[in-house]
């Protein structure tokens, strides 16, 4: 398959789309929870990009699950291990952000950034 839709093209396009979409949401939305959703989308895009760098066409997961499996038939394990870290950090960031938002809502009674004094730009 040497067509225009190779797997790495699809993954790169998807990741770029997710990152741009997520950043657009963060820049334009005023609702804080929507901004966190945008951050999460951009995060997912970065993860997809990282995983796709380790991809090798036609190869399997880097697990020696069958006896005859050769090293040359596997994809790169290092980006996958890095993405595991990245997912956990992304989870921590969004959980902490949501906790902050809950506190902010209790203090100000709104989620709209333009209505919260001291957050304008």
């Amino acid at each position: 398959m040497n067509g225009i839709l190779s797997v790495s093209t699809v993954l790169n396009t998807a990741s770029a789309g997710l990152i741009v979409l997520g950043l657009y949401i963060v820049f334009t939305q005023k609702n804080l929870i929507k901004m966190v959703i945008g951050l999460d989308l951009a995060d997912t895009g970065v993860n997809v990009l990282l995983v796709s760098t380790g991809y090798i066409k036609g190869n399997t997961a880097p697990i020696f699950s069958k006896a005859g499996l050769q090293v040359s038939q596997m994809v790169d394990p290092v980006p996958q291990a890095l993405v595991l870290t990245s997912i956990v950090i992304g989870f921590g960031v969004s959980a902490l952000a949501l906790a902050l938002i809950i506190r902010l809502y209790q203090k100000t009674g709104t989620l709209d950034t333009s209505k919260i004094r001291g957050l304008k730009w």
Partner: protein, 229 residues
């Protein structure tokens, strides 16, 4: 103005990705690949004894990094507990869900717990490990907390469990440091029979510890968020 600036920024990003895309089209055959990954793949089986090469990277080759990752997760959980502390108002009436939901969640909880333990115990053989397994266990607690408002955890037990798990992670690393390998998180146990549950030296132990830590941490996060309504 704000929209204009954001669209300008986004256009910059799109341009950046367009230029990057050429370099990211990774060589799609394994013959022209000369990377750390190939070296690790060819050595991991003999050195770590784990069938899952990703696990051997996460737990042994980059084990110190995983310790940092666990620390970041701990800091996030700590921050959430601090923010949520004392925000809950005492509710007079306890709202429980219907009998069917309560019984169903109590039926589901042991199964989810068991599945989490299974995922943790097979981290070195199949995709999975301490982080996903811990999240599955925490999801079990989450289901219970969602359906029955009157359920209360012993927070002290959770904190003690979490602290002990974190200490044992560092302790395992220090034992490796003192052992013959002379480096932090070095494997000091026999590798065992390849591709069985009791193999791969300290990897299952570290993943068990990580699983307990993540499970306890996320359960207390969910509990803190629920208490603060």
């Amino acid at each position: 103005m704000r929209k204009f600036i954001s669209i300008l920024l986004l256009a910059g990003f799109v341009f950046y990705f367009a230029t990057l895309a050429g370099g990211l089209m990774i060589p799609s055959s394994s013959a022209d690949r000369k990377s750390v990954g190939l070296e690790i793949l060819s050595r991991a089986k003999g050195e770590t004894g784990a069938a899952n090469a990703v696990t051997s990277v996460v737990v042994l080759y980059r084990g110190f990094d995983t310790l940092g990752e666990v620390t970041v997760l701990f800091l996030a959980a700590l921050g959430i507990s601090v923010f949520m502390k004392g925000t809950g108002e005492k509710r007079k009436t306890v709202l429980d869900q219907s009998f069917i939901l309560k019984t169903g969640s109590r039926l589901l909880f042991p199964l989810m717990f068991l599945f989490g333990i299974y995922i943790i115990a097979h981290g070195h053989l199949t995709p999975g490990g301490g982080f996903p397994g811990g999240v599955i266990i925490a999801t079990g607690f989450f289901v219970i907390l969602l359906t029955s408002e009157s359920v209360h955890f012993n927070k002290t037990v959770m904190s003690v469990l979490e602290g002990l798990a974190g200490l044992s992670f560092i302790g395992l690393g220090v034992v490796g440091l003192l052992g013959p390998g002379n480096s932090f998180l070095q494997n000091f146990l026999p590798l065992g029979k390849f591709d069985t549950v009791f193999s791969a030296g300290i990897i299952p132990l570290i993943y068990a510890v990580v699983g307990i830590k993540v499970g306890a941490e996320l359960s207390s996060v969910v509990y803190a968020m629920k208490e603060s309504k």
